[in-house]
């Protein structure tokens, strides 16, 4: 009897609890984001970069006490999760430090404020190719603060030891010359050149314009783009594959391990890498290094990188102050500090590049900053299926190619099949 009375009580309590939760769920309450603070979300992860952002935010807050900025640091995956949920619920941060290719999805949905009018004063300072990269259907969804190119860096002492002269900054360097050079510095102990080949699809496509690769034709801003895989589009991939299998100047081990350590420990003569690793070489080793001239093929020396951008949420209640804060971040000195802290990326504006040159007098840094003109719009950037094709097909198939498990023809077929499946 008592047992059944207890069960009845428990059932009643459960019903009350469920009811309370249901009522609480339906009660409209004030949103959490209704304050005057500007929320600035960044995926900065290096300590040096975080320190610079903190000091810039502190400087802003001191000068603008009525519109304080709060820096929120998140990891890369967390950034996009928080943006996706935030835009949906109206709680997205006001200013976002993100990457142009990834931000495009939010720009297409109209979540990012059109900065075109506000940033017009910077247009003459920003490379036209990069300017196009951060615009979608005449709306500027972000202002580029950092650009990363791919470069080849040489261990000067190792070259001396091998009796091979390092090409000067002013020389030219074609793909064939690079391959010949890599062969020359290959020894029994070490391959001549290393590149991180685990996820190298972006690298090969950023370098594509140097050989006149187009990758896509048709309307590349929608789902109707056509994939192109002719000789130029396969040339960079072919070069890497032949360096491994024909020239034997690159090791297939770099499909699963980074050449960074081999270079920083003085074993590897040449390292194909991003420009933002200059600081890594400076800080982590005593390597006497020099950048090789930019690789120039039938299409010239221009590369098609994506850009690190500052965007403003279209949902922000403080768009005016947020834009003002972005303008502050885009000031030459602030850009220089941030790009040096990142490791040696190129500031988005010419004044930012000049500011880095004024701080970093070293010849390698001067050469790095001179590459701001060698840029063009990424031909793949606006193609909707690009990210999926890259992640699901280009990277894994390239790994198989570089490991000698498939031929270039098989690679080409697999990419075409993958593309057909995605359309």
């Amino acid at each position: 009897m008592k047992q059944s009375r207890f069960n009845a009580k428990a059932k009643l309590l459960s019903a009350v609890a469920i009811g309370a939760v249901s009522i609480a769920t339906l009660m409209p309450m004030q949103s959490a984001s209704a304050n005057s603070e500007i929320r600035f979300m960044s995926w900065a992860w290096q300590d040096t970069h975080i320190a610079v952002l903190k000091s810039q935010v502190a400087a802003w807050n001191k000068a603008n006490p009525s519109s304080p900025v709060k820096l929120e640091l998140v990891d890369e995956a967390g950034l996009y999760t928080q943006l996706s949920t935030g835009f949906l619920a109206g709680t997205a941060p006001d200013v976002i430090d993100t990457e142009s290719a990834a931000a495009l999805q939010y720009a297409k949905s109209g979540y990012l404020y059109n900065l075109a009018k506000d940033m017009r004063y910077l247009q003459k300072e920003i490379n036209p190719g990069i300017w196009t990269t951060v615009n979608y259907k005449a709306r500027m969804f972000g202002v580029p603060w950092m650009i990363e190119q791919y470069m080849v860096v040489a261990n000067v002492d190792l070259f001396k030891k091998l009796g091979v002269p390092v090409p000067k900054y002013t020389d030219s360097l074609t793909w064939d010359e690079l391959r010949a050079l890599a062969k020359k510095v290959t020894t029994a102990d070490s391959p001549g050149i290393g590149a991180g080949l685990g996820s190298a699809a972006k690298l090969t496509m950023v370098m594509g314009p140097t050989v006149g690769a187009k990758y896509y034709t048709g309307i590349t801003t929608g789902r109707k783009a056509n994939l192109v895989q002719k000789a130029p589009e396969l040339e960079v991939v072919r070069n890497f594959a032949e360096m491994i299998q024909v020239d034997k100047s690159m090791a297939s081990k770099y499909v699963s391990s980074s050449p960074q350590t081999d270079f920083l420990t003085g074993k590897l003569p040449l390292w194909f890498t991003k420009n933002s690793l200059a600081n890594t070489i400076d800080l982590q080793s005593n390597i006497n290094y020099q950048y090789l001239p930019m690789i120039s093929g039938s299409g010239g020396a221009k590369q098609a990188p994506t850009a690190g951008i500052y965007s403003v949420s279209a949902q922000s209640k403080q768009i005016k102050n947020s834009v003002k804060f972005v303008k502050f971040l885009m000031e030459a000195q602030n850009l220089a500090e941030a790009n040096i802290a990142v490791g040696g990326s190129i500031p988005g504006t010419t004044s930012g590049q000049a500011a880095v040159k004024a701080i970093k007098k070293d010849a390698n840094w001067q050469f790095l900053m001179n590459q701001g003109a060698n840029l063009t719009t990424a031909p793949f950037l606006f193609v909707e299926q690009w990210e999926a094709l890259k992640g699901s097909f280009q990277n894994p198939q390239a790994r198989l190619l570089y490991s000698g498990k498939i031929t270039l023809a098989e690679y080409k077929k697999a990419i075409q099949d993958g593309w057909n499946g995605l359309r």
Binding site: K2, A10, W45, K70, E76, D262, T265
Partner: protein, 271 residues
């Protein structure tokens, strides 16, 4: 048979121990020794700099504290809620028991990612977004179904004669629960607490979606920030911070495991 058992134990130890060993070894390597093509099992000169860098990283101690108390409170609430609920489900007959167990089971079919967006929208609407209380409610909700099933098994093992004896002695249902059932299912409560604590401690999804903003981050979201873009990252400090993050759960397990075994024996009854 004994040889087979030894081989099995060795395999088991290697399978679970090797990643842990590799993590500790990585935490003691210099950045330059990590990720290279030369295999270094353990650095000849262990470098403790990664630990100081991990601890010194902005926000990590606050995040560790947030994780600790959030996990403790969530595990406690889960344990407290689970015991009576499991008793009720185990003892009830008829539609209520069937409906409850069926509902709990079916809730496990959906991946938690599926519920995140609707929950997020609800949370923003009712003002629980970016609040610790909101996060605790979610942690408890996510822990509850499995813990309920776990605890239900322990309650079912309590002989009905003991419960009957309590009732014959004039104890109400609540008293039976308080003085008879709770002590007997203490091992189950400990298991539930450990499970809920570890599950909350390791949870990334709730922390990253529902606790935005620097001062509310937990250890899992802070650990993710050691990894940068395109495969780059501070792998040494990341490994060191991960090693440190394992310590509280390890300690909890060591402390409660003894209690668990002791209670398991003392709670044993003959029907």
């Amino acid at each position: 048979m004994k040889t087979l058992r030894v081989i099995g134990t060795i395999f088991f130890t290697i399978f679970f121990g090797l990643p842990l060993f590799w993590l500790v070894a990585t935490s003691l390597k210099q950045e330059i020794q990590i990720g290279g093509s030369d295999l270094i099992w353990f650095p000849a000169k262990p470098d403790w700099a990664n630990y100081s860098e991990a601890v010194g990283r902005s926000g990590i101690l606050v995040a560790a504290w947030n994780s600790l108390w959030l996990s403790t409170v969530s595990a406690f609430v889960t344990t407290v809620v689970t015991a009576p609920a499991a008793y009720l489900v185990a003892q009830s007959r008829g539609w209520f028991s069937k409906a409850t167990t069926g509902w709990v089971l079916s809730s496990q079919v959906f991946p938690s990612l599926l519920t995140v967006f609707p929950l997020f929208l609800i949370y923003v609407k009712i003002g629980l977004f970016n609040s610790f209380i909101g996060a605790i409610i979610l942690y408890v909700i996510f822990n509850l179904p499995f813990c309920l099933w776990l605890q239900r098994g322990f309650v079912k093992n309590v002989p009905s004669e003991i419960l009957e004896a309590g009732r014959i002695d004039g104890a109400s249902g609540l008293k039976v629960l308080r003085y008879v059932v709770f002590p007997l299912i203490l091992p189950g409560s400990i298991v539930v607490f450990i499970y809920a604590f570890i599950n909350t401690w390791n949870n990334f999804l709730v922390a990253t979606v529902f606790l935005q903003g620097g001062e509310k981050q937990t250890l899992t979201t802070q650990l993710a920030r050691f990894i940068g873009t395109e495969g780059l990252g501070l792998f040494g400090p990341f490994a060191a911070a991960t090693v440190l993050s394992v310590i509280p759960t390890l300690l909890l397990f060591i402390v409660l495991q003894r209690k668990f075994t002791a209670n398991l024996v003392s709670g044993a009854v003959k029907s």
